[in-house]
Symmetry: D2
Subunit: 385 residues, 4 copies
């Protein structure tokens, strides 16, 4: 099977996200790193690209140059990953989609709801893939949770409880550290800090697993470190489109928690519990039964789980492989498109522009409700109301 | 040391709470079971009392008879435990306090805030002890958490996160089971079900450990099983008197959770995490340090923890001993009173009428806020505003 | 039900074991503390006994005096607990059995195999109960493990893996501390230190749960702290009477382990795992199935488990209640004897003289094999070969 | 930095180990997959190689052809991975070393001790790298354990306890399944089954972390499923060159354990505990201190740990990344060789021919001791005695 060609914008030398994407894209050998505009300093980006093995003429100085250079090549890149600063996601994603490229955009997809709606429309109009990197949804057992819910193992879902609460911004002296401070400054971070940064992953996970969308929410947002304008802790209650009640806690001041992304799902017929820090175990209790531990890689799991499990049972798998599963989905989707065949439904699970848009609407709703002392507010983007 | 005399009202044959109290009161040999009115059926109560070893003339038919029989005895009971149906707690507690007895009342102390204020005033006026049985506060490591907070190990407390969420009422077919149904019926249970039954323990724990009181709260209450009028799940956000933010989740439909009482406390200088199901370990992380596991019974803990730890480190201790620690506190308080000396401060931690009253006010506030879509409401009883 | 009368020898003021026995005996109200010879200093013992509430004429100065005082009383004690220094267990137990008392002896029951065989014969001849306090066997879920094995849930048992490894004697500077040193000194401790002190509990547990006896064993014993003559760490391989393979690790230098008593049982049809430090959960995996967590107190466990579970599911129970279950068994056995009826089979599980004897034989076998570089040696006492 | 060229022998279509190696070699972009002889069926191997992106003339039919094809190329492969059936490892590894290639050989490196000694001599004589894939030693926190021991954090190491016990061959009906049966058949598997397959990883880990070699051992080997000739369970006691006592349990009938590779290290000044199934946490207790949890990725760990940690703290990492760390070491070693500079000592940790040889000697010693009822036997290969 010929490798797909892959290009990257951003993720220059020293960034964390760059290696993660190269690892994810390269892991299965499905994508070949073929083009890049890796740095906002053109020469540095070109140099780094060449050192990473790009052909000299495909190690570009910026995303415009790359767009020009790629769009008419016969062997142009099949997928472009956008991992630039948040404020540039919209224009780059838009430009590449309109030029006919498939795009994987880092979160947040846009800075406003209007931009988000625009991207959704462009993706639909062009028929191009616009994926958004909610990478935690790639874990094998998260996929299995979704499959269990979809096939009715838990009956109707009554309640979903999500958390993404850690303690990495708990040091008040860090509030003056520029690396941390910008996150809590509306001028730089927008309307939300901790919810937009972490909580949104937990919300996406809740929606992904239940197969439902957020309709309305009520948020209690606080700045535990007083000098911060934006929230470092929030509790969000919400309602999903299928009638499920949701509760979400996110924090960056919860000292002693390292990451803290967890999901609990409670239905009429059973309950599920999963934690990102121990991602190879899923706790399931059927109503009236006993708590049991589902292991990643065990026999007879769902096709969705099997497809995204790579090493044998008992061997730990971690975040980089979850991340790679998003690329694995994209490879399947791109290939199916090239071959004119339907996508394997067990692979058709990558987060997409709609998720990016709904997430953006939820961020604004949390900010609005937080300012309004927890008043319930509409959380859907206008185009989906 | 002469044993104190102890009497019990309620807790008849077949009840769960009766043996628990007898175990707790008898554990250290501080109290001798000397009188009882154990059953609402006078003969059954007298018979059971005699079988439990009471003298025939102190195995009473009802609480009135016991009050008459005890109040003028030279060796009358030092402490009366009230473990009757909730709606009778007020009148019995009131009557015994006014007759000069110390009382340990099961929760809820009263059915209304007014009654609660009345009990607080009576206890103050008579100088009698009126304790309320929030028994989870008796765990050695819960006492240690309180001591750590009090001595400043965590700095100012920013956030407290409490949960008491289990799945034991998750079976929709149980909604017709009388043993379960009454709990969700306002005519029998009052204004709140799951919060009043379980959540209130978590709230007491949050206040006990932080040494602060609830001032206001916002609640999202839901009935996941639609036939229920009262809530089977609630999220409560609150603010404490010392400025701490609080978050509390309680549920009875969280299938897969057996008990689910946990407490997390986050301060400027560290975080704590404790769970009732594994009560012999306390997780502590100092800011910038490493998560460490404090073991019940380890050397150099606080006096509050040492006093309430009974077996050597590594040997599990459980709920019955926590419960017994409330009696241990009461024995010290009663003895100190008899001897005219100050109470050991490390023992002066039993929950008291003020706690019972504040809890009742919180229950009404949760119900009110729940009906008002999460509006923030005053949670203090009028006498403490 | 009239309380049984209970007496205690040893367990004086300041001892740890004394309160544990009083708690255990008193917990269910089955036994009344009626007589004692609590201290090797007669006056101190009498005084302490009176302070604990004994009648003055039953607060004895030594065990001879108590034997004389009790043996002809109409209301003499039904059960005598022997909690004196190890070297005196044999003569006291012997004397009381021969005088017609039931006895619960602390472990080790005797100092030699010959003495052990003597006690077994005396118990048999007199028809008196001679129990030995392997108290960990009283845990509800340990009882359930035994019941599961007995009813065939695991099929034939292939392997049992037991550990009792902690780190409380790991400090080399403690080797000069008299409180620790005597344990590793053959003149004071006999032929074995860590195995005799802790390992033997794990071995008893392995035998108790499988319902089998040790036949032969091979031991690797080492003194990790060189100044010690006796072992502070041992690995023992053994074979049980039903063909099960056994492996047992015991250590007192395993820093980071607080208690470390665990049992794993592997049969043809399933596996079990239990740890004393978290005694309310039992991990069970049926062959080809999933790991499931059995909770103490859950519905439909064995009668053996139900009888020894006291608080509702989800509430932690600990060691003191396990200990009390031995007394609960003894109360049933004594009462059945008085009433001339068979003992409830679910209660007939207290460790007895045979266990004490077999344990003593195993201790000598471990010492012998250890000296012989792990040679396999007979582990049964002569009378059971 | 120019990529190194990498070739693979074995790991054909459908194998598990092939993708694992390609993932590991490709993860950091250090190696480019340049040549392969992937299948024992020449055409299938050539075809699969081409589909994986190899140039047609470097997709070879067998290892001889590849050796001929590569040895005189200017851009010949820098490293050859040998992942063929066990019995062929020796001749292939030998041939490639002698032709001047660096080799990474799957375990076991050889089938006999003599062959192992031969490889060690050849590697030394040629100056080529001969690595052996004990991949679990690549985990970041395993590297950190080694670093802690080496720098003296635990003082002198008294005891190491290793386990690799799972339940995947516990079904007696599987004893007739060819996929399982061969493992317990001496004609196909050699002198040892479970120890050679799994136990040896645990032994390597014990040696790797302590920096010591096995000198002698005593084994209790059993076949819990009677039709098996070779062992499915073994306990091995051993002594290391630095005086450390070792204990190792391995099993394939331990139902309920998924993988079961764990290591505990106890020194004079502290203890460590690590488990492969939760590899991102390391439990450390300093003597007289508290158990603390070291997290992969935390600040201020050793250079050995930092170098092998790839994603930020709190994000799970798993086995594939551990595996990749072996390749990362090899890339550094090869590059340092090319550049004529010393190897980064924090990277110079890949298992090598000496480890493969010592492991082989240990396997034979376990088999010998097992047959001799646990007699202590020499475990060093002749050339290292």
């Amino acid at each position: 099977m010929r490798k797909l060609k892959w290009g990257m914008i951003g993720g220059g030398e020293g960034s964390q996200i760059g290696p993660a994407h190269r690892l994810g894209a390269g892991l299965d050998g499905a994508f070949e790193f073929a083009a890049g505009a890796l740095d906002h300093r053109p020469d540095a980006g070109r140099d780094y690209g060449r050192r990473l093995g790009l052909d000299a003429d495909r190690a570009y100085g910026d995303w415009h140059e790359m767009l020009e250079g790629e769009k008419n090549r016969p062997n142009r890149v099949d997928l472009v990953t956008v991992a630039t600063p948040n404020s540039t996601h919209y224009e780059i994603t838009k430009a590449y989609l309109e030029a006919g490229f498939h795009v994987l955009c880092e979160k947040p997809m846009t800075m406003t709801i209007e931009e988000g709606e625009d991207i959704v429309r462009i993706a639909e109009a062009t028929g191009r893939i616009c994926a958004v990197n909610y990478g935690y949804s790639g874990y094998s057992l998260v996929r299995h949770m979704k499959a269990m819910v979809a096939r009715g193992d838990l009956g109707q879902i009554r309640l979903v409880k999500a958390e993404f609460a850690h303690g990495h911004h708990a040091d008040a002296t860090d509030a003056d550290n520029p690396r941390v401070r910008w996150r809590y400054d509306p001028a730089q971070a927008g309307v939300s800090a901790q919810f937009a940064d972490c909580g949104i992953h937990a919300l996406h996970m809740a929606c992904f697993v239940t197969g439902q969308d957020v309709e309305k929410l009520s948020a209690d947002t606080v700045s535990c470190i007083p000098s911060r304008v934006l929230e470092d802790d929030a509790m969000v209650n919400f309602r999903l489109s299928g009638g499920t009640v949701g509760r979400l806690w996110t924090s960056s001041i919860a000292i002693g928690r390292q990451h803290g992304l967890t999901l609990q799902v409670f239905g009429e017929k059973g309950g599920l519990r999963w934690a990102q820090e121990q991602p190879n175990q899923l706790y399931f209790m059927p109503l009236g039964g006993r708590l049991q531990i589902i292991e990643r890689g065990e026999a007879n799991l769902s096709p969705e789980a099997d497809r995204t499990s790579r090493v044998t049972i008992g061997h730990a798998e971690g975040m980089p492989l979850a991340f790679a599963n998003i690329y694995k989905d994209l490879a399947e989707a791109i290939r199916a498109g090239k071959e004119g065949r339907p996508i394997d439904p067990a692979a058709n699970l990558y987060p997409r522009a709609e998720d990016g848009l709904r997430s953006m609407a939820a961020v604004f709703a949390v900010a609005e409700s937080g300012l309004a002392h927890g008043q319930w507010v509409e959380a859907r983007p206008p185009m989906f109301r």
